[in-house]
């Protein structure tokens, strides 16, 4: 009896090990593809060059100025050459470099007398002439730090972080009585939901 259970335990361990093999192979194949660069794709034709577009992450309106946060999502370096607000070239300065390497960001500051509630479109043109635009449906002043804002964030935090946990814990009495199959089903749903959220957050 003792020998059998030991064998079962061993085979159980091997099963876990074997489950890792496809994962390791997948990592290997992905690494191989990634390291091949464009050499593999070049066999079937040249991929069109990426447009020299920035990623405009955030447009904020402050009294007398508009700030634009840009990131370079491209492989090659991008240079901020020209900035427009509603199709008009405007003087600007940047907090950070004007030449951005991959995934680097900079904040563009444009002195501007904007009109509260009006729609605006800002454009950032790279040195190669490609313009990236972002539209704001209605200009609203961005708030800085204040006790009022602190209170607001605290309440929001309570609402989204504390109260749901408390509500979840209120399930405790019913779960104590639940059939183990239901508990397993809840766990499967929860694991799936968390995995989805984790992946979705990456996108």
């Amino acid at each position: 009896m003792a020998a059998t259970s030991a064998a079962e335990r061993r085979s159980g361990g091997a099963w876990r090990l074997w489950a890792l093999v496809p994962l390791l192979l997948l990592v290997g194949v992905v690494a191989l593809f990634a390291s091949s660069g464009t050499s593999l794709l070049d066999l079937v034709g040249r991929a069109p060059p990426a447009l020299d577009q920035f990623d405009i992450r955030r447009v904020e309106f402050k009294p007398g100025e508009i700030t634009i946060r840009v990131t370079n999502p491209q492989r090659k370096k991008l240079t901020i050459a020209s900035v427009t607000v509603d199709d008009a070239i405007v003087p600007f300065r940047t907090d950070g470099p004007t030449s951005l390497s991959r995934l680097r960001s900079s904040r563009i500051v444009v002195p501007y007398q904007w009109v509260d509630g009006d729609p605006y479109t800002v454009g950032v043109t790279s040195s190669s002439g490609i313009e990236t635009t972002a539209s704001v449906a209605a200009a609203v002043e961005a708030r800085g730090a204040s006790p009022r804002g602190f209170l607001g964030y605290a309440l929001i935090g309570l609402l989204v972080g504390v109260i749901p946990v408390a509500l979840g814990l209120a399930w405790l009495p019913s779960l104590r009585r639940a059939d183990p199959r239901w508990v397993a089903a809840f766990m499967a749903l929860t694991a799936g939901l968390l995995s989805f959220l984790a992946l979705d957050a990456l996108a």
Binding site: A88, V140, L175
Partner: protein, 336 residues
């Protein structure tokens, strides 16, 4: 009475998980709500006056490429020659692919005659025998199509000049006026938008009165290839004459040979501040209009004559505000 099962640690975790998951979900939902929230703060956003408005786009503030006097060859036409029928005037234009800085720090893959967009100013007196050689050093077939009167085989439409080849256009220069030239290869829109155009001045047999002569070619640049211009300008770089005003004397007439080669937009225009001028459409007759604003479709051109009443700095620009703020704006510095 059934025995109560003890709740394991795992079960508690399972119970709490949906609540934990709710946090990021709620954050996403709230984030979207915040982004979509409409304007609530009343009144205008007020702040310190920044260097804004095109009136402030002067000197070092102006985002214009280039150095002082860099465009002189395009702004000041070649000297006028006296009427002498049959005299030969020769020009050579080399078409080539070129990266040109059309706005501060913005480079455009253009096609040029002699390295610039617009190309060089061609000038002849009426009845001169004009001989213009096109050398195609570019990567696409090109031509030169002149406006004016000439034989059918000198029209630059059927005589396609392949890369590496050349062709000489030969015809008597007429009629006098402000003419222009541009590439007429297909696709036509592409060949013009890329920068293949220039001014072509034919002087009348009886010389015009002496004046300070300038050439202004209006054009736009579609740097991202979406069929709409990103920048507008006179003689090439956006805002060049805002950064480097054109100095003229009040004591002598200012004569501008003006042409519009802007692609994509239906019209362009010229407006002068603080002054009126005589505008001779095409410049081939004595007919003129006294105005401060003229409108031109693509290919339309004329001659402007200004007698400044005042000294000082006067703006000139397209009276399409959009073009003005995308680079088509400059200044005259009028001195005594």
């Amino acid at each position: 009475m059934p025995k109560r099962r003890r709740l394991t640690r795992r079960q508690v975790l399972v119970a709490a998980a949906p609540a934990l998951a709710a946090a990021p979900l709620a954050r996403l939902a709230l984030g979207e709500a915040a982004a979509a929230s409409p304007a609530r703060h009343a009144g205008m956003a007020m702040g310190p006056m920044g260097p804004m408005g095109h009136a402030a786009m002067i000197g070092a503030e102006v985002p214009a490429p280039g150095r002082p006097n860099e465009l002189d060859a395009l702004l000041y036409p070649p000297k006028v020659l006296a009427h002498k029928p049959g005299r030969t005037r020769e020009y050579t234009l080399v078409a080539s692919d070129r990266q040109i800085e059309v706005a501060k720090g913005v480079f455009f893959s253009g096609w040029t005659y002699n390295g610039t967009a617009p190309g060089p100013v061609i000038r002849a007196t009426e009845d001169d025998l004009l001989r213009v050689t096109l050398v195609n050093a570019g990567s696409h077939p090109h031509t030169i199509h002149f406006h004016g009167i000439h034989p059918a085989n000198m029209d630059g439409v059927f005589e396609i000049v392949e890369p590496g080849a050349s062709y000489t256009y030969e015809f008597p220069a007429r009629p006098y006026g402000m003419q222009l030239y541009h590439c007429h290869s297909t696709p036509l829109k592409k060949h013009i938008a890329k920068g293949l155009y220039g001014a072509f001045i034919i002087d009348p047999p009886k010389p015009r009165a002496p004046a300070q002569e300038l050439v202004m070619l209006l054009a736009g640049f579609d740097t991202d290839g979406d069929g709409a211009n990103n920048f507008y300008s006179v003689n090439g770089p956006a805002f060049y004459y805002a950064k480097y005003p054109i100095r003229v004397r009040r004591s002598e007439t200012v004569r501008i040979y003006l042409a519009n080669l802007t692609e994509f937009d239906l019209i362009n225009s010229f407006h002068l501040h603080g002054e009126f001028f005589r505008y001779y459409p095409t410049g081939s007759t004595d007919h003129f209009e006294y105005t401060d604003t003229v409108m031109l479709c693509q290919g339309q051109r004329g001659i402007i004559e200004i007698d400044f009443h005042n000294t000082g700095r006067f703006m000139f620009h397209a009276h399409q505000s959009e073009f003005t703020e995308l680079g088509w704006m400059g200044f005259f510095d009028v001195v005594a």
